[in-house]
Symmetry: C2
Subunit: 290 residues, 2 copies
């Protein structure tokens, strides 16, 4: 199964969108139409890359827009760029989400005691390749970290791109600890501090910031797939989420290809990118006294 | 005083060159014609940025070519890219050189006991701005690290771009330690290990890797300016170095504007860049056991 993207609007502006197409060239929603499993027997999942490693623009699936294109998050009218917290440069993995999952804000997690954050579940791909924005990869789940962000459970699932030449060396979270020393500690450190330069407090973690292993993570991911199913069948109220899709035949939100085409065509044409403000290059030092 | 650059050949190929011009549009050598001092009374020096922060291509002043353009270093016929040693991404400062300086390979340093490396003296600009390749900046010297690379003294002078909004907060090496915690340690760490992924041993340092302060660093920089003067007046043998220049009137290597123009015109025209190999994105983990 292969997917392509189509950009609309000018990159680095609020109008910029990245729409997705299936291998037949039909517009789809990356949230709802890209299959959860790439290989169900092997527990290989699809993942949509929102933020390539070492970049700063907080690009994410627009869960509240029809067809859920990628867009850059905004804060108080400004495009959002994640700070560089020394020694890190931008995001330190390919960051993205698993399609057909949903962290239900009405469901209280029995482990963390917190409800979901209303988004698809997040992944951190530790593969060597720097993916491109909107790339759909197949990933092996290795473990998970339970970030608590403003009282909501926000699972960060550690995965490796199955195309990575070393993917066979990774089956569980301890393989990351052994093969990429320092990366898991850096991951906790990154999530703890990445919003501090924006004036936010440090993030907290369930389980004292200890990573849960592969089996726990796979169960967590599968649970969020079930929440998504309930969402799509209207068993759960979608709230502001946009569930328009083009492939879930038994979903009341399924739309025609013509409708999907019209959604995309209603957006600004693709154009030259705006320059990224140089303030995005600032390096923040955590213990700065001055 | 302002300088501009002119690219020749295709970026990311062995033919790529960046030539320099003065504010009158006359071709110059960044090694010999850009003045050492930007402000002699204030000990502000010029520096030429060879490698912008967070990039990997080992671009450097071609000391052995006429007019000394920037070029990418090659190793066994391949373009050289510096490895990403976790947690770092490329070079962690704007890296470059101070014009009109020379680390004389015939001069044994009384402190390090080693001779010079036959290059202009290197700088690490810790300013927040990511400079562009070939940018000429004005820098304040804060301290220096004495790298010993294969038995040669290779000073790494820590500087800050005087255009940095916080430049006034920096007058000596301790200001870096206080304002940018972890950066000096990361600097030693980076230089110690950056060649290890290429199969080289760890680099060594004089003074146990302790940074020398501002006054020591300024004296070191000024010494290398004297070595350069001897070079340009033929008091010292230049060996393979190319001393062609367009502004040092009393130098036997001074050439006409027409000659300089001919040097540049002899090079391939600027063209579209080659893609950077994805292997450059690999992240190396130092303690990898596998």
């Amino acid at each position: 199964m292969s997917f392509t993207t189509e950009e609309r609007g000018r990159p680095h502006t609020a109008e910029y969108r990245v729409f997705f197409k299936d291998s037949a060239g039909k517009y789809i929603s990356p949230f709802h139409d890209i299959p959860f499993y790439a290989d169900e027997d092997e527990n290989i999942f699809h993942a949509v890359v929102e933020v390539p490693r070492w970049t700063n623009a907080k690009i994410e699936i627009a869960t509240k827009e029809p067809l859920n294109p990628l867009k850059q998050d905004t804060k108080k009218g400004s495009l959002r760029y994640v700070a560089n917290v020394f020694p890190h440069k931008g995001y330190i993995w390919n960051y993205g989400a698993i399609p057909q999952t949903w962290e239900d804000p009405n469901h209280q997690d029995s482990d963390t005691g917190c409800c979901g954050d209303n988004d698809p579940i997040d992944i951190c791909d530790i593969g060597n390749k720097v993916c491109s924005r909107g790339e759909v990869i197949k990933v092996k789940v290795l473990g998970t970290l339970a970030l608590i962000d403003e009282g909501e459970t926000d699972w960060k699932v550690i995965v490796i791109n199955t195309d990575d030449p070393d993917a066979n060396s990774y089956t569980n979270i301890d393989d990351v600890r052994r093969n990429k020393p320092g990366y898991l500690e850096a991951t906790v450190d990154w999530f703890r501090r990445y919003k501090v330069p924006d004036g936010k407090p440090e993030n907290q973690f369930a389980f004292n910031g200890v990573f849960k292993d592969r089996d726990f993570a796979i169960k967590t991911v599968k649970d969020t797939h079930e929440f998504w199913k309930a969402l799509m069948s209207k068993t759960t109220d979608a709230g502001e989420l946009n569930c328009t899709n083009t492939s879930i035949a038994d979903s009341p939100f399924c739309c025609s290809a013509a409708h999907a085409e019209a959604v995309v065509q209603s957006k600004s044409a693709f154009g030259p990118e705006d320059p990224v403000p140089s303030s995005v290059d600032k390096w923040f030092y955590y213990e700065t006294k001055s």
